[in-house]
Symmetry: C2
Subunit: 343 residues, 2 copies
């Protein structure tokens, strides 16, 4: 089956387009009626760099590719609109695998209100994806960039960190699951035995690595409650906080001890021989880091809880100066090293 036949099969599978899409996949270009402002982001995912085919199913690869792209729209506080998908397909990744990959993307698209509005296919020697996402807003002033943090602002974090790297370690070595030694009270709180709680935690960690959740609701809630700067944590806390600090022309002071950790991740990382603090810089948790005037903190916590069902935690503050200081409990500072794919 050739490119055109596969594209036709893909188009048949696509659900109805969103109301902004006047002309979807199948013409020279998609035609949309955008909001007064659009946020557009592109992301590349390459086999062996961003995912491993022996650890992730095609549907999970599709999910993750779209999720990481949408995470950038979440970090702007944009309403997701359209996604455009480029797929480089090696000979040993068949048509059914392509359709499965697409299904993973369609499912997340439906969940988030994102229309797959176009794409392109090519032969390739390795599997790669390039995803473009377009989000909408009533005007440019509704969107939150990285550059508006001011001294005195609170630094807030959605959800918990460390889950993605713990999930990766667990996928690479399933025996590490026995290293998750949850307190019996966690099992009780989750309504089962410690063993069941361990299994649930392990499944959640794997999901965290393979099927991350773009924090779109939290991003819009933070934008609406007055976030002055925002970024998603794709490359790791130190590196991404550094981007926000640099663009804002401020310093960031972060208290590592108050950062919520994904359940089970700390024990698992210890068993895997990874430093729990360094793990903060491992990236791929796709939580949001934002700066917020302290007076908006309570409202933002309620809004993020209502929109996304997760906690918003103050983990530091913005100060005059430059750079990022991540303080550890023993007084040392964590080197804010980014996760650099081309290094």
């Amino acid at each position: 089956m050739g490119e055109f036949e596969l594209l036709a099969r893909i188009r048949e599978r696509l659900p109805a387009a969103g109301s902004r899409v006047q002309l979807g996949s199948g013409d020279d270009a998609a035609v949309t009626t955008p909001g007064d402002a659009t946020a557009t982001s592109v992301d590349a995912l390459v086999e062996g760099v961003h995912f491993r085919r022996d650890l992730a199913s095609p549907a999970q690869i599709g999910h993750k590719a779209l999720a990481t792209a949408l995470s950038d729209l979440a970090a702007m506080g944009a309403e997701p609109g359209e996604a455009y998908v480029v797929l480089g397909v090696p000979d040993d990744f068949g048509e059914d695998a392509c359709m499965e990959l697409l299904d993973g993307m369609i499912a997340l698209g439906e969940e988030t209100g994102t229309t797959l509005a176009g794409g392109d296919l090519s032969r390739a020697t390795e599997l790669f994806l390039a995803i473009t996402v377009v989000g909408h807003a009533a005007g440019p002033q509704e969107l939150v960039d990285r550059g508006g943090a001011r001294p005195g602002d609170a630094i807030v974090l959605t959800g918990a960190l460390g889950g993605a790297i713990a999930g990766l370690k667990l996928l690479e070595d399933p025996a590490l699951e026995t290293g998750i030694d949850l307190d019996w009270r966690v099992g009780q709180a989750m309504g089962g035995s410690t063993r069941q709680a361990t299994e649930k935690a392990a499944a959640a960690l794997r999901r965290r690595q393979l099927e991350p959740t773009p924090r779109l609701g939290a991003g819009r809630a933070l934008a609406a409650t007055g976030a002055t700067a925002m970024i998603d944590l794709s490359d790791g806390l130190g590196g991404d906080a550094g981007h926000l600090a640099e663009r804002s022309g401020t310093a960031l002071s972060i208290d590592a001890e108050v950062i919520p950790r994904a359940p089970g991740s700390t024990e698992l990382l210890a068993t895997a021989g990874l430093d729990r603090w360094q793990a903060l810089n491992a990236g791929e948790d796709y939580e949001l880091l934002a700066a917020l005037p302290p007076g908006r903190l309570d409202r933002a916590k309620r809004a993020v809880g209502a929109e996304e069902g997760i906690a918003l935690t103050q983990i530091g503050e913005v100060r005059a100066g430059s750079g990022v200081e991540i303080r550890l409990p023993d007084g040392r500072l964590l080197e804010p090293v980014g996760f650099d794919q081309l290094a």
Copy 2:
């Protein structure tokens, strides 16, 4: 040098953003204030499939990638706005090569009024590019899709065909240049000897393959003068005409003999042992094929000449029915086979 340093070096090189771009490369997403309608298209270019590094310079690869993407906007009659670039970079494609590739893209961007507004980089085992382009229009009705051709419409073509495949053959075998046996009158008309004319024609054919011109001015002129359907010829005349016929629910009747040929291409193809008619289906000429009410023909010819300095030729007409008929001078029909990358 890592991804972030290379991205910073790239951002330094970017010219000033267009007026629609509120926030360019370097944040989670680019922020733009779009027109009331946008046309968005994505294109993948993969080493060994769409280009060869031994035949094209990095700047030419960059030019061609952006040109093929912009050609889709030309086929909608859209005004080009922004481009987003994903680059998969193998180890043997260094930083300087990346910058050269970018320079090729920037030059075409400036020529066409396209802002490079964002991108992503990844390591890869082969060089690949994925380009997203966004064009703007005052409303969806200003844009021309493939589906509006009506029986009785004239089928028109911008420029000439056959240049891209002839250029490819010439790049693969430079000795073919001696096969270009131009009439001495062509040399005279070009203001020099036959030898000089041959060299000029050869250079033009190579450029046609390596640095195609997106027909943006012609596309807008055709849209403004009432084109009912339009497509760019990337995959070959037969295949692309077939897409237009299918989406319009009509038949297309094309007279192969009246199709203008790139100077020198017919002789060269004959020397290379390629059928001159089959060459019409080789693709990559990136000319525009449009349907147009016959009453608009003269106006459209003048507008395309004024905007783009090229001819617009009627090569057939739209009829009731389905399918594409490409008539050859001997009465045979040319099989309208598309150029299928995944075949």
